[in-house]
C-alpha cells in the first residue's frame, strides 16, 4: 500500500486512491477533426513508461480530486504530485527525464 501525497490533503494511504492512467493525454478539442490514427492514439496508445511516469490518480476516498503524479515505475517511489491543470514539474536530478 503506497503512501501518496495528495496535493490537497497531504500524505495519505493508497487505499483512498484510484489510479487513473497516464497523465497529460488531452481529449482532442474537436474529435470529429481527428484522423483515425490520431483518435486511436488518444483512446488507446499509452507510453507505458519503464521509469518516471506521469500519471493520474484520484483521491476518490478523500477530497475526490483527480491530480497528477510522477512515479518511478521501477521502484514505485513518487517524485512529485501536482494538481490537474498544472504543468509537469521539472525534476532536478540528472538523468531523470519525465
Amino acid at each position: 500500500m503506497l503512501l501518496i501525497q495528495c496535493p490537497y490533503c497531504g500524505l495519505r494511504p493508497e487505499l483512498e486512491f484510484a489510479y487513473a492512467g497516464q497523465a497529460h493525454v488531452a481529449r482532442p478539442a474537436d474529435p470529429s477533426a481527428t484522423t483515425p490514427d490520431q483518435w486511436t492514439e488518444f483512446l488507446y496508445l499509452r507510453d507505458n513508461t519503464r521509469g518516471i511516469h506521469a500519471e493520474r490518480w484520484r483521491h476518490v476516498r478523500g477530497c475526490a480530486r483527480f491530480f497528477n503524479a510522477l512515479r518511478d515505475t521501477t521502484t514505485d517511489q513518487f517524485l512529485a504530485t501536482y494538481r490537474a491543470g498544472e504543468s509537469m514539474p521539472v525534476l532536478q536530478q540528472a538523468g531523470q527525464k519525465p
Binding site: A26, S32, F42, F66, Q77
Partner: protein
C-alpha cells in the same frame, strides 16, 4: 527413553509441569518449553520425515529457521494446524501434536523406500519420465506423486477462530528484540519518538536469553532484560509485541506483522482473536533481525541428533535441556566453541571438537583444550551412522586432497556450525541492495531503498558489546531521522563469546563419489549431488538451480541452506559467490496464516450488505433476494406454494392488468447542478439536454469514448440549473467517477457540480393501469392527470405529507410513476402506497418481473443486452442520438466505418416456434440446422422469459445483421436438439406504446 533435562538452569518454570502428547504418546514438560525442547527433554530425537526420501529427521534448530521438525497441532477437530515448527510451538497443558508425512508411523515409514530408490530419483527426475502413455501422467503417475508429496494435512472443517487486523503508525519500528533491537528501542524511545518493538519469540532478549553467564554493565543478562523491559513498558510512547513476526516489507515503509495471540494458551477466551495482522507505517524502520547459524554439508549430515551448535546452547540455557550426553562438535567458526564449553560445564561429555579449519587457533581452542576437550583442526566428516539417530561420526583430517587419521567417534548428538548468516530478508524485501562481504563471507545490507537501517548482527556486527552499541547508535539515528533527538548510551558486555565468522559450503571430501548423501536443503532433500547434477545439465543461473533442484523452496525458505547451496555452486562453477548471486528474498519471512489476511472479512462483513429503506418489509413478505453488486434486491415475492415462475407470472399480470409496486432505490442517482449543467450533460450523453424543459425527463445513453454503451438512465430537469440523473445500479459509482473525470480534467471551465444522491432517495415505482388511482389519494400539491403530468413528466410535491420528486416514467410499458422520497420516509410511504393500493390489488414485484416486463417492451438492460461491444445503433437505440450535436463522448468512435457494418450484431426479438419453449439466456443462434461444432454462430440470446401477458415465451437476442433478418427462421442448438425461432422486432407487447400514455 532417557531424560535429557539437566538438574537446574534454563528459563522454564520447573514448578509447572505440563502434559502433552506427541503421536498419541503422553509426555511431560515445563511451562516455558517449546514442543521441541520438551520432546528433546524426553529423549525424543525423531520429529518427522523428509519431503522426498522420507528420511527420519530430528530438530536441528531452536527457532523459526527449523527445516525438519514440522508437526500438526490439533486443538480440536476444527482447529488442526499443519506444518508448525516444533521449535516455535509453545507447550500448553493438553497440547496434542502429531508428526507428518509418514505412514504408518514415524519410526517405520513405508515410503522410506524412496530413500533406497534415491539413485533413481535425482533432482527433477520427474521431468524426464512419466510421459507414456499420454494420459498416464494425469491418471496414474500424478495422483501417486501428489499423495506422496505435501507435508501435513489441510484442515477440513471451517476454522472457528477469529482473526484481527490493525493499522498502526510509529516513528521507529524496531524489528527484533535481541541485544541490538532492545538497545535501539531503549534509545529511540528515550527521545520521545513513538517506538514499536516486535519479536517473533514469546520473550524479548533474543540471543541474550542464551547467555545467563554474561553481564551487561555489570548486571546479569536476565536482570538487564528485566530492567530494560520495565523501562520500555513504563514509556507511553512504546508498543511492545511479542510472538510477532515482521513478515513483509512493502513499499513506502509499510511493514506487515503477524502477531500470534492465543496459540500458546491452553483455553483461549472465545472472543480473543487467534492471530492479528498489523500493517505498520513507520517513519523509520530499524531492522535488528540477528543472524542464523549455518549447518555444514557432509555425507549423512541429516540424521536425527545432528543439530546447530547455537541450538544446543539455546536448549541448554533457555530450556535446561542437554541435547546429548556424548556430543561431537564439527565447526567452521569460533562461535560454536561456546556451545561445547557450556555443555561441558553442564556435565555433558564432549567427545571431540572437529574444527574444519586447518589454521584454527587461539582462545576458543585453548579454552576447549584446557577443559580437556580434544580438538582436531583441518578436519572433515566422512559420514555418520545411526538409523533413527546419530550414533557415530567418522572424522578425518584433510591434507593436500587426501584424508588421513580417519576415525570413528561415538556420539549421541552431533553439533554443527558453519558460521552465521545475517538475516537480511526484510532488508532485501525492501529492495535495498546487498553487498557481499569477503571477510564475513556474507551478504550485508549496502544501499537502502526505503527509510530504514539495520543494526547488530544482521548487518555483520560481531560481539555483544559492539552489537548493543550499534543498536543504540542506530536507534538514536533513527529517532533523529524521524525528528527526535537523543544521545546513544555505551554498553559494556562481558561474555564467553568468539567470532561468528565461518565458511559456507560443502566440506571437502577425499573422493567426489560418496555413497551417502550430503544434504544442503534438509526439508526438500536436496543434496550436493543434486546441485551438481543441475549444473551438469546446464543450469547455471542460481534461480535456475533453485527451481530445478527446489533448494531453498521449502517452508523454511532456505534460511539454513541458501548460503551453503550458493557457496557450493560458486565453487563448482569456479566463480565468486557475488558473481553467482542470490535468489530473490520473497515475502513472507516465515509462513503467515491466511486468516489474518481475511481478518474480519467473513459472513456479512465479507462485503457490505447494502439494503434499501424498504428491505425489512420485503424480508417480512418473504421475498427472495438476489445480489446485485453489494445490494440485496428483492427478486420476487412468492406466496405460499409458488415457485419463481408462478410468482413472476402473477406479478407480471398484476402490473399489466392492475398495479404493481417495485423498489427502485438501488438505481444510482446523481444531482447535477450549476449554470452549465445542461451543457455538461449534452457533452456527455448521446442525447441533447439543452432543449429539455423543466419538468421533463429523457432516456439517456452514456457511451465511453470508444463508442460502446456504458450506462443508461433517465435524466430529469428539476429546475433550470438542476438535473436529476439516474444510472444503473451497478453503474452508479463508475458513472459518477467518469463524470467527475470529464468535469475536473477535460472541461474544468464548466460551472456545474455533482452530488451523489443515490442514498438520499427511496424510490418506489408504481406501475400499471391503476397506478394513478393508487397514488391520487396520497399526494398533494401535484396534478396527476395525463395533461398535467404526461409520460416523462417530472414534478415535485408531497406524498403522505412527505416531500417528493415524482417522475412519470415506465420501465414496464404501463402507466407508471416513480415516487422519490427522502430515504428515511421510504418505508412509511411504501407502506402507505401498499395500503392505498389494496382495493386495486396492488402487488409488490421484484427484479425478475421487472426484467420480464421490460423485455416484453424491448427495453434493454445494460450488462445483459450489452457487453461492452454494443453501440446504440446495435441496440436499436440509434434514435436517441442527437444528430445535430458537434460532439459527445463516443461520437468520434461511432463514426468509424466498422461501427456501421451491416453484419454487426443487432438487437432483435426471437419467438420460438413452439411458444411453450423458453430459450436459455446465453444460448447461441445458427442460421442453418444440423451443424456440428465448430458451428457458424451468428448471435446469442440475451434475455428470455415466459411472458404471462402473451401466454408464450419471448426472447431478445444480439444477431449478426439482425434487423435485416426479421422474419427469418433460425435455430438455437441445445444439447437436447435444435430449437427453431423466428426473428422479430424487439417490442412484443403494445407495439404502438399507447399504454404508457394512459
Amino acid at each position: 527413553m532417557s531424560g535429557r533435562r539437566i538438574q537446574q538452569g534454563g528459563r522454564v518454570d520447573r514448578s509447572r509441569a505440563i502434559r502433552f502428547t506427541f503421536d498419541g504418546k503422553g509426555y511431560s514438560g515445563f511451562a516455558g518449553d517449546t514442543l521441541a525442547s520438551a520432546l528433546l527433554a524426553n529423549g525424543v530425537q525423531v520429529f518427522g520425515r523428509s519431503f522426498k526420501y522420507h528420511r527420519p529427521r530430528g530438530v536441528i534448530a531452536a527457532g523459526s529457521e527449523e527445516p525438519n521438525a514440522l508437526v500438526t497441532v490439533m486443538r480440536d477437530e476444527a482447529r488442526c494446524t499443519p506444518n508448525l515448527r516444533a521449535t516455535q510451538v509453545e507447550l500448553y497443558d493438553g497440547l496434542v501434536a502429531r508428526s507428518q508425512n509418514r505412514w504408518p508411523s514415524l519410526d517405520f515409514d513405508v515410503q522410506a523406500v524412496n530413500d533406497l530408490l534415491s539413485p533413481l530419483l535425482p533432482s527433477a527426475f520427474y521431468y524426464k519420465t512419466f510421459m507414456w502413455p499420454r494420459a498416464a501422467w494425469h491418471k496414474l503417475y500424478e495422483p501417486v506423486i501428489r499423495r506422496a508429496a505435501g507435508l501435513g494435512e489441510s484442515p477440513t472443517l471451517p476454522d472457528p477462530d477469529r482473526y484481527s487486523q490493525r493499522f498502526a503508525h510509529c516513528d521507529v519500528l524496531v524489528v527484533g528484540a535481541g541485544p541490538a533491537g532492545l538497545a535501539a528501542a531503549l534509545t529511540a524511545s528515550a527521545s520521545g519518538a513513538r517506538v514499536m518493538l516486535c519479536d517473533e519469540q514469546p520473550e524479548f532478549g533474543g540471543s541474550l536469553l542464551d547467555e545467563p553467564a554474561a553481564t551487561i554493565d555489570g548486571a546479569t543478562t536476565a536482570d538487564w532484560i528485566r530492567d530494560s523491559m520495565a523501562t520500555l513498558r513504563s514509556r507511553a510512547n512504546v508498543t511492545l509485541l511479542t510472538r510477532t513476526t515482521a513478515f513483509g516489507y512493502f513499499p513506502h515503509n509499510l511493514i506487515g506483522l503477524n502477531e500470534r495471540i492465543t496459540e500458546h494458551l491452553p483455553a483461549p477466551a472465545a472472543d480473543m482473536p487467534r492471530e492479528r495482522l498489523w500493517q505498520v507505517r513507520a517513519a523509520r524502520v530499524l531492522i535488528a533481525a540477528g543472524s542464523i547459524e549455518r549447518p555444514l554439508v557432509f555425507p549423512g549430515n541429516d540424521r536425527p541428533g545432528v543439530m546447530l551448535a547455537s541450538a544446543a546452547r539455546t536448549y541448554l540455557h533457555r530450556y535446561g535441556v542437554a541435547v546429548g550426553q556424548n556430543v561431537v562438535l564439527v565447526t567452521g567458526s569460533d562461535a560454536a566453541y561456546a556451545a561445547a564449553l557450556d555443555l561441558h560445564a553442564a556435565g555433558v561429555r564432549v567427545a571431540l571438537i572437529a574444527d574444519v579449519r586447518a589454521d584454527a587457533t587461539g582462545a576458543p581452542l585453548d579454552l576447549a583444550r584446557q577443559a580437556g576437550i580434544e580438538v582436531v583442526t583441518g578436519a572433515t566428516v566422512l559420514g555418520t551412522r545411526g538409523r533413527l539417530g546419530v550414533r557415530e561420526v567418522t572424522i578425518g583430517v584433510l591434507a593436500r586432497g587426501t584424508v588421513n587419521d580417519t576415525r570413528r567417534v561415538k556420539c549421541d548428538a552431533l553439533l554443527l556450525s558453519g558460521g552465521y548468516t545475517p538475516s537480511v530478508h526484510l532488508f532485501s524485501q525492501s529492495r535495498g541492495k546487498l553487498e557481499f562481504n569477503e571477510a564475513r563471507q556474507a551478504f550485508l545490507p549496502s544501499v537502502s531503498a526505503e527509510p530504514e537501517s539495520s543494526a547488530g548482527s544482521c548487518r555483520g556486527i560481531d560481539g555483544y558489546t559492539q552489537v548493543l552499541n550499534d543498536g543504540a547508535r542506530v536507534g538514536a539515528a533513527s529517532a533523529l531521522a524521524a525528528g527526535y533527538s537523543v544521545a546513544a548510551p555505551e554498553y559494556r558486555v562481558q561474555a564467553l563469546e568468539f567470532g561468528m565468522h565461518g565458511l559456507p559450503g560443502v566440506l571437502p571430501q577425499a573422493s567426489p563419489l560418496q555413497p551417502a548423501r550430503a544434504f544442503v536443503d534438509f526439508q526438500n532433500d536436496v543434496t550436493s549431488k543434486d546441485l551438481a547434477l543441475a549444473m551438469r545439465e546446464g543450469f547455471e543461473s542460481v534461480e535456475h538451480i533453485k527451481r530445478y533442484t527446489t533448494t531453498g523452496m521449502a517452508t523454511d525458505q532456505g534460511k539454513t541452506s541458501n548460503m551453503n547451496a550458493l557457496a557450493f555452486v560458486a565453487g563448482e562453477l569456479g566463480r565468486t559467490i557475488p558473481k553467482v548471486g542470490l535468489t530473490t528474498f520473497r515475502m513472507p519471512y516465515t509462513p503467515v496464516t491466511f486468516g489474518i489476511f481475511a481478518g474480519y472479512d467473513r459472513g456479512d462483513l465479507f462485503d457490505p450488505v447494502r439494503t434499501t429503506s424498504m428491505h425489512d418489509w420485503a424480508v417480512q413478505q418473504g421475498a427472495v433476494f438476489e445480489d446485485v453488486g453489494q445490494w440485496k434486491r428483492a427478486r420476487y415475492f412468492p406466496r405460499s406454494g409458488e415457485d419463481m415462475h408462478a410468482a413472476v407470472d402473477r406479478e407480471c399480470k398484476a402490473v399489466r392488468t392492475g398495479v404493481g409496486m417495485f423498489d427502485a432505490s438501488t438505481l444510482g442517482t446523481i444531482e447535477v447542478v450549476g449554470p452549465d449543467a445542461a451543457t455538461f450533460l449534452s457533452r456527455l450523453y448521446v442525447n441533447g439536454f439543452s432543449t429539455l424543459a423543466v419538468g421533463r425527463s429523457r432516456y439517456g445513453i452514456l457511451l465511453r469514448d470508444d463508442g460502446f454503451i456504458y450506462d443508461d438512465g433517465v435524466i430529469a430537469r428539476i429546475a433550470g440549473e438542476r438535473f436529476h440523473v439516474t444510472t444503473t445500479t451497478g453503474g452508479a459509482a463508475r458513472v459518477f467517477g467518469m463524470m467527475e473525470d470529464y468535469l475536473q480534467t477535460e472541461w474544468p471551465d464548466l460551472r456545474c457540480w455533482l452530488t451523489s444522491t443515490t442514498e438520499q432517495w427511496a424510490v418506489i415505482a408504481v406501475q400499471g393501469p391503476r397506478a394513478r388511482d393508487v397514488l391520487a389519494p396520497l399526494v398533494s400539491d401535484v396534478d396527476l392527470s395525463a395533461a398535467a403530468l404526461p409520460h416523462l413528466g417530472v414534478t415535485q410535491g408531497r406524498i403522505c405529507g412527505v416531500p417528493m420528486r415524482l417522475f412519470r416514467m415506465s420501465f414496464t410499458g404501463e402507466l407508471g410513476y416513480e415516487v422519490n422520497v427522502p430515504a428515511d420516509y421510504g418505508l412509511a410511504v411504501w407502506e402507505a402506497i401498499h395500503a392505498a393500493g389494496q382495493p386495486h390489488g396492488i402487488t409488490p414485484y421484484g427484479t425478475e418481473t421487472m426484467h420480464v416486463l421490460r423485455a416484453e417492451k424491448g427495453y434493454i438492460i445494460v450488462g445483459q443486452e450489452t457487453d461492452g461491444t454494443v453501440t446504440p445503433d446495435d441496440a436499436g437505440l440509434g434514435w436517441a442520438i442527437a444528430k445535430s450535436k458537434p460532439d459527445f463522448v463516443g461520437k468520434r468512435s461511432l463514426a468509424r466505418e466498422t461501427m456501421h457494418a451491416p453484419d454487426r450484431k443487432q438487437l432483435v426479438g426471437l419467438l420460438t416456434v413452439d411458444p411453450k419453449v423458453v430459450l436459455e439466456e446465453g444460448a447461441q443462434i445458427v442460421a442453418t440446422p444440423g451443424q456440428h461444432a465448430p458451428m457458424k454462430m451468428i448471435g446469442h440470446v440475451t434475455s428470455s422469459y415466459h411472458s404471462a401477458v402473451l401466454g408464450r415465451s419471448i426472447a431478445l437476442a444480439l444477431l449478426r445483421g439482425g434487423r435485416a433478418r426479421i422474419g427469418e427462421t433460425l435455430y438455437v442448438p441445445m444439447p437436447g436438439g435444435e430449437i427453431a425461432v423466428q426473428v422479430t422486432a424487439t417490442v412484443f407487447y403494445d407495439v404502438e406504446g399507447a399504454r404508457l400514455h394512459g
